[in-house]
């Protein structure tokens, strides 16, 4: 297998899709140069600035404009510089994009890519406006799909599936993963939206997670090897949600720990907990537990940021608490 970074995998998906279909084009701020995280670097040399289109700083016009182009049968892929900034285009997304097909039955093949999540270092974090995980906003809006790839393989395959999908898809790239490497096949392949992946099989307890938390979840499971036999389910997309995979692992182990980077209250973990409680209650051997960021903005200061994200140690501790039931 060939190894590529998460960032390179996304770039490959864009390159493959644009090469295969002239209707695919990119819109975003400074993407001609490379974009803030360098994902679109070099694409303008291959496709020209008619297909790699720099925009003014105008999120509403970018998202609404892409919607108009998608209604016309083009396949726009938008980059919003940081997932936090989608808030500036929220009306377009929630009121226009999400509901158009319901009103008119016109397909709306629009992809919005945005880097999400916090980057913490000993020097501090990216702070309260460049670090958020807004996936629950979108999951709460019928009409949108939401993908959060956790591996380079999925980043490429899910993005190609999102571009091929006739619905609007939010593709939330995980900032913490851009430099992570993994197997990425050449050419076009898709990972279906709505199909979770069993990242690790186990019998005692299930961790349900997605995005950047998959990696610490797997490390925690490895550390607990021989003590607790942990199963890890990576959702890949939260809309559509692979309910069957969630309920299957819940019925199998009877102990569920949900881990996500987003804040806790009304986070997607609450939805998962409700689903399991409603549909697999009689299989449970302990409380459904959640690990998340606290209900607080992402702090910039390093001494505060250090407490913010769930980490391997917290996951290990939570697994031990839950497995004691």
């Amino acid at each position: 297998m060939r190894e590529r970074s998460y960032r390179a995998a996304i770039r490959e998906a864009l390159l493959e899709a644009m090469s295969a279909d002239e209707r695919v084009f990119l819109l975003g701020e400074d993407i001609e140069y490379a974009g803030v995280y360098g994902v679109t670097k070099g694409l303008v040399d291959k496709f020209g600035c008619d297909r790699v289109i720099d925009t003014p700083i105008a999120e509403t016009a970018i998202v609404g404009g892409a919607m108009g182009a998608a209604l016309m049968g083009l396949l726009p892929v938008v980059e919003i510089q940081f997932a936090d900034f989608i808030a500036a285009a929220m009306d377009q997304l929630v009121n226009m994009v999400a509901k158009y097909h319901y009103r008119t039955r016109t397909p709306l093949p629009l992809v919005i890519r945005a880097p999400a999540g916090a980057i913490l270092s000993t020097h501090g974090s990216t702070g309260p406006f460049h670090s958020q995980n807004p996936e629950a906003w979108f999951a709460h809006t019928p009409g949108l799909k939401v993908a959060l790839p956790a591996t380079p393989y999925d980043a490429k395959g899910l993005l190609l599936a999102a571009i091929a999908d006739m619905n609007p898809v939010l593709f939330l790239e995980q900032k913490a993963l851009y430099n992570e490497k993994g197997d990425v096949p050449e050419g076009i392949y898709t990972v279906p939206l709505g199909q979770a992946r069993l990242a690790r099989e186990g019998n005692d307890l299930s961790i349900i997670t997605y995005g950047a938390m998959l990696s610490p979840a797997l490390r925690a499971a490895d550390l607990l090897d021989g003590e607790v036999d942990v199963e890890v389910l990576d959702l890949r997309t939260i809309v559509p949600l692979d309910k069957e995979a969630v309920l299957t692992t819940a019925r199998k182990t009877g102990k569920i720990l949900i881990v996500h980077e987003a804040t806790r209250t009304a986070g997607f973990g609450a939805e998962l907990a409700a689903l399991i409680a409603e549909s697999a209650f009689e299989f449970l051997d302990g409380p459904i537990m959640r690990l998340s960021s606290p209900d607080a903005p992402v702090p910039a200061a390093p001494e505060l940021a250090g407490y913010y994200l769930p980490d391997v140690n917290e996951i290990v501790t939570a697994v031990r608490r839950l497995s004691a039931y």
Binding site: F25, D50, T55, P56, A58, T60, A61, V63, G64, G65, A66, M67, G68, A69, A70, L71, M72, G73, L74, P76, D91, Q92, N95, M96, H101, Y102, R103, T104, R105, T106, P107, L108, P142, G143, K145, D165, M166, N167
Partner: protein
Amino acid sequence: MDKETLLDWYRQMVLIRRFEQRSAELYQQGKIGGFLHLYIGQEAIAVGSIAAKAEGDHVITAYRDHGHAIAVGADLNAVMAELLGKQTGVSMGKGGSMHLADVSRRYWGGYAVVGGHLPLATGIALAEQYRETENAVLCYMGDGATNIGYFHESLNLAGVWQLPVLWIIENNNYGMGTSVDRASAAPILDKAKAYGMNGEQIDGMNVMEVYETTQDCLQKIRDGEGPQFVEMITYRYEGHSMGDPLRYRTKEEVEKWREDDPIGVLERHILDEKAADQEALEAIDGEVEERIEAAVQFAEESPLPEPEALYSGIYVEA
């Protein structure tokens, strides 16, 4: 203008007026629910500008959208059925009065968030530019929309990319109950200049003037002169929506505007030019009446959507 065209415009304007009057009655009878915004007084704008567009051009507007739907030729029965929330409506009863659309006629619809459709207009125009066609977008909005953020982002984007969009401001003097001079820091036309367009202001009660100006603007767009901007001065005789007590304006003001009634203006022109006599116009009024009554009957007799329709169409099924 030739006789047939003038009579056709008269027919369309009376059709819109009577459609709106009948809608108001149905609303008062409880047969139409939700919000209902009437186009009465503004008919010359939709009719005159849509008459000037080419077949490939696009139309998109705000929530006061019945007139545009009728002017693009949407099925009158289906438009009325939509207002009554029936399965046979243009949006299967799911959109209602403010969210009409007829994609087959490139009428992308009415939008209920003020200014929310302006970014879409730029995107549709971008797609036409991407495909190197000659098609343009006619994007309508009220005066109130020129104060919201979408307006500024969209006009800027259209200017930067030289998109084929004609921005049509239907200035009816009030954004809900707030008059333009209380809501806009500068004259509306000045805002066009800020985004590199000259813009012009015309009499939106005169269908001939609306037609000619729209035609000129669309020609400029096709000649590569970039986006264009027209402020059409008009007036709505009714409230912002049904139930508006109209405390923000005087009866005298409304009466004064009625002297410039767009249908009256056209009627006088037709009679002066001897394009038709009073009898011929009355015959058209009669035809319109029949069409409206047929649409009401169709809508009333149409079935309501089945409960399962609640869940259909949220996503495109694979």
